[in-house]
């Protein structure tokens, strides 16, 4: 996987609450932005719901590369749903994932923060690079790599700030261990970027309107 899902019991109660509060603030902003739209598009809600279902279903698939890779597709969610709806989508995916043990209930806040970073960076890069790199495949690939890299940095920061319960090491030692995990994650991120690029290129051929771009 391109990032890990933190499991229950990893953080102390204080940091569980801190990251939950931070995630609630960001999700609150996303809800406010969607509600504040002058002409609320009800279709967007249905599309976001199907995006959630599709992303969750795809996460269940193990790709037979290097013994099995699961994709999170968070940057793709950002590209398709946008940063506001995308933030809500990743929160729901994290709740559904927690229900089946992929990430802890208490850690939904921290996991959602990491995913929101991936969604926002993925979306922003994809839009900003439009004039520089018009082709979908490399643009989506770069956006995915950037999103997952920033997500990994966010994950490392969250873990270093919180500390892991039961670990009696200095932040420097924890950082060294996490850097190795991040390096492995980024290796998987390259596969995810390649596949996301292909997905976006395919969608761009068949339904460019879904990417907010003309044929």
């Amino acid at each position: 996987m391109a990032h890990i899902h933190l499991e229950d019991g990893s953080f102390s109660l204080f940091f569980v609450l801190v990251w939950w509060a931070a995630a609630i603030i960001l999700v609150g902003i996303a809800i406010y932005l969607i509600r504040a739209e002058k002409k609320p598009d009800r279709r967007k809600i249905t599309l976001a719901a199907f995006c959630t279902a599709a992303a969750f279903a795809i996460f269940q698939v193990s790709i037979p590369i290097f013994g099995g890779v699961h994709l999170n597709l968070t940057p793709l969610i950002g590209i398709l749903a946008g940063p506001a709806a995308g933030s809500l989508v990743v929160l729901i995916i994290n709740i559904l994932s927690s229900a089946i043990g992929h990430g802890g209930w208490g850690l939904i806040g921290a996991n959602t923060l990491v995913n929101i970073v991936e969604v926002v960076v993925g979306y922003s890069c994809f839009r900003l690079l439009k004039s520089t790199i018009p082709a979908f495949l490399p643009r989506a690939g770069i956006a995915t790599i950037a999103g997952l890299l920033c997500g990994n940095i966010a994950m490392i920061l969250i873990i270093v700030i919180s500390g892991v319960q039961g670990v009696n090491q200095s932040p420097g030692q924890i950082l060294a261990g996490l850097s190795l995990i991040a390096a492995v994650n980024m290796g998987v991120a390259v596969i995810e970027a390649f596949i996301t690029g292909l997905i976006v290129a395919y969608i761009g051929k068949v339904r460019p309107d879904l990417l907010g771009e003309e044929k």
Partner: protein, 273 residues
């Protein structure tokens, strides 16, 4: 294995929902709010305690509840794969540098890696915590009806989050079934054969893209159908959720007292700050 099951190590949502809808156990009649409160308390306890014995006992109790309800234990162990992987990913490296009494050393060139007793305890404790969480979650899912979950989502989340959640929860089964069907079609045409990374990636990317495109097509059709049936932007889930009974409240009260006693009296507890 249901038709929608895509990986054997991922919990099968169809099977889970079948158990929930069948309501074949005593626990199915317990109020969903009682079970939800139980979930919050379980998470609170495993967040607060670092005591291996308490984690072990709690895990055995929850596993016992799961097994006594007649749910598949072998499948549960297969479904532990990803939670275990996540824990090992996080602390598998840190455990080697944890101070303590060495139990195993491994020399690799100039470096010597030492696994200490504290490193082993760290891995086992976090593994148990993750398994407690996933086992109780699945127990909760398998004893609570779909309608009750929908009604809980509707009551707990603000709009439009509740709307996206409710629709996604409804569409999830359709999408899983569609993904499973596409993969079956790909495998039956030789797609399961191992190819190069590029070809393998392309096959999977096209399947995933197709899942998204079909999902969006379906979303548009469903949206129009909903409008034609009077949908005004508010999808309501009005099912009455059974309130907690007296026995349910007693169980929750006792659980709260147990947590308070553990936090105050048992060593290695106090993961508050």
């Amino acid at each position: 294995m249901s038709s929608t099951m895509i990986s054997s190590h991922i919990p099968d949502l169809d099977l889970i929902t079948t158990y929930a809808q069948r309501e074949g156990t005593f626990f199915s009649r317990v109020s969903p709010w009682t079970k939800f409160s139980g979930l919050l308390l379980v998470i609170l306890l495993i967040t607060l305690t670092r005591n291996l014995v308490i984690c072990g006992i709690l895990y055995l109790i929850i596993l016992g509840l799961y097994a006594s309800a007649g749910f598949p234990v072998k499948k549960l162990f297969a479904w532990y794969t990803l939670p275990v992987l996540f824990v090992i990913s996080l602390v598998g490296i840190m455990a080697w540098t944890e101070p303590g009494t060495p139990v195993f050393s491994w020399t690799l060139g100039l470096f010597t890696l030492t696994l200490t007793n504290n490193g082993v305890i760290l891995i086992v404790t976090l593994l148990l915590k993750a398994l407690i969480s996933v086992t109780y979650s699945l127990f909760f899912l398998m004893t609570t009806r779909y309608q009750h979950f929908s009604a809980m989502i509707y009551r707990l989340f603000p709009t439009p989050l509740d709307q996206i959640f409710l629709l996604a929860y409804r569409f999830l089964f359709l999408t899983l079934s569609m993904t499973g069907a596409i993969f079956k079609a790909v495998r039956s045409r030789g797609g399961g054969i191992i190819h190069s990374i590029r070809i393998q990636g392309q096959i999977f990317a096209e399947v995933f893209a197709l899942v998204f495109i079909r999902s969006f097509d379906r979303a548009e059709r469903v949206h129009l159908a909903m409008i034609s049936r009077g949908y005004s932007g508010k999808y309501e889930a009005g099912t009455e959720i059974p309130r907690p009974g007296l026995s349910g409240m007693v169980v929750i009260g006792v659980f709260c007292c147990v947590i308070a006693i553990i936090v105050l009296m048992v060593p290695n507890t106090g993961g508050i700050s």
